[in-house]
Subunit: 296 residues, 2 copies
């Protein structure tokens, strides 16, 4: 069978379960980031690798400054998903030898600018030649206090589902210029009990089922409530992908206080209740067009 017939989720489901896992590993492959114990430190070490590939995640014409920005911000969006703070970045740069050095310098400017925005020190830089398209793998290391970490798996039946920002249409430009919701995520876990969270990278249609599945639940989505980007329809909000917004679950008991405090804290960022988690059975009644899934 070819990879593109299998799809990324099923591929990873085949590869990951039998990975050996040391006691130090709280959360391994399968959530947004890895969370591990490190040498007696009180906080958890948080690790994430992500990659972008030319003609898959960006076009040949894209500005190298924006590509660098995106390559760094994607793993940082996963940090937002677990409510972690990033500290160190490593960059593996795979680029054709015929590419101009000024292209690479601009790419690095974008990487550095994105890193600086969140106080990340770039501590490693590898480069390799390639006969194919350019690609970057960025790894970020950082930390989260044990009490503040949020996984995909903590949702409970009846929890409200919220999304930040607006969904859909990211390929018109936002996917190269977004700012991960780290500040919002850290604010949320300072004062609220966020039970499950994920960042929307493949589209709500792919990522909401992932969160629900990890929590062993189904969901009810109120499609008419979805916060649409300008010019977008419900289908765009579900399937376009690359929104890099947060989707999270909190108890309805916190709804009112959350909505009020959010408006004061982030007056320019919408926070929208879009549905709720529900017993497993309901997942079959909910038919979603799929978000963007690799190899499909």
């Amino acid at each position: 069978m070819k990879l593109r017939q299998l799809g990324e989720d099923r591929l990873l489901a085949q590869l990951l379960p039998d990975l050996p896992r040391a006691k130090a590993v709280h959360t391994g492959a399968g959530d947004d980031c890895a969370l591990v114990e490190f040498r007696g430190a009180r906080d958890l070490l948080v690790l994430k690798t992500d990659c972008v590939v030319e003609r898959v995640h960006f076009s040949v014409q894209a500005s190298p400054l924006e590509i660098g920005w995106k390559a760094m911000m994607r793993p940082l969006s996963d940090f937002a998903a677990v409510s972690a703070l990033p500290e160190f970045g490593l960059v593996a740069l795979i680029v054709p030898g015929a590419r101009s050095t000024s292209w690479v310098r601009q790419l690095y400017r974008g990487l550095k600018r994105a890193a600086a925005r969140f106080g990340v020190s770039i501590v490693g830089g590898e480069t390799s030649d390639t006969p194919g398209p350019a690609a970057l793998a960025v790894t970020v290391a950082g930390f989260v206090e044990k009490a503040r970490r949020v996984l995909r798996s903590g949702g409970r039946p009846g929890d409200d589902l919220f999304v930040t920002g607006r969904l859909g249409g990211a390929l018109r430009g936002k996917h190269l210029r977004f700012v991960p919701r780290i500040r919002e995520s850290r604010w949320l876990t300072e004062d609220f009990r966020v039970r499950a969270m994920i960042d929307l990278s493949d589209g709500l249609g792919a990522d909401l089922p992932r969160l629900a599945r990890a929590s062993k639940l189904g969901f009810k989505l109120e499609l008419e409530r979805l916060p649409l980007s300008r010019g977008c329809k419900i289908d765009n909000a579900i399937s376009d992908g690359e929104d890099y917004e947060l989707l999270f679950a909190v108890s309805p008991r916190e709804r009112k206080r959350l909505e009020q405090s959010w408006r004061k804290q982030f007056p320019r960022v919408p926070l929208t209740r879009i549905g709720k988690l529900d017993q497993r059975s309901t997942i079959n009644h909910q038919r979603l067009p799929r978000g963007y899934v690799h190899f499909q």
Copy 2:
């Protein structure tokens, strides 16, 4: 200017100096690994990303099991260079959608086998489609006790230079099957004052000058002493690359004790004194064919 006219060392020299560096960063981009402080832990957090690309680091015909092995072992060889112990691995896998799932499963078997050899837990696995050749970026996180870390930069004039194993001819197969010298490195720093160390990935002709330059010194090489792999000449030992052996500097006062204890500890691994570090001036008298350097 094109990348391949500039070369990897000069490219990185242009990109890296103005990277912002936090106080927590002991050693950033430019040495074999990054060494950073983490949240009050006594030991240093060690981070390394490395990548392998089809048709650059392995051929299209190479066994996926061996490719996976190599992709994991390369960053582990950098761990050996700083005398660190690896704990966690993350894998970014860039692979064409038309590749068979069994190829990917074999690749993962190789990755897991290599990780298990050194007790590394694979805690993150990303995959991406690509219209080009397959590529893997593997990141490893681990630790080193502050007193045992070794950099490239600690060499002093008159230090003996030693290499482990034999050099040259790695492309005949060793480059896909090598075992990083982590055990040997840890043994060395338990009982000896290793002043500078590097792993030989690009060939002695490229890596020895790097160690000397980082130590602000030159070197004298006794070419006739080089430990050659079977069927290899001096040029192979200098230029073939991918030996993944250790090159290190110790005071001549430790020479005798080191050579004797090594023979007892590692009777099957040669340890060879190949020259010494010297004042900067001598570097000009030493003409070396270049090792393998990316983009050239």
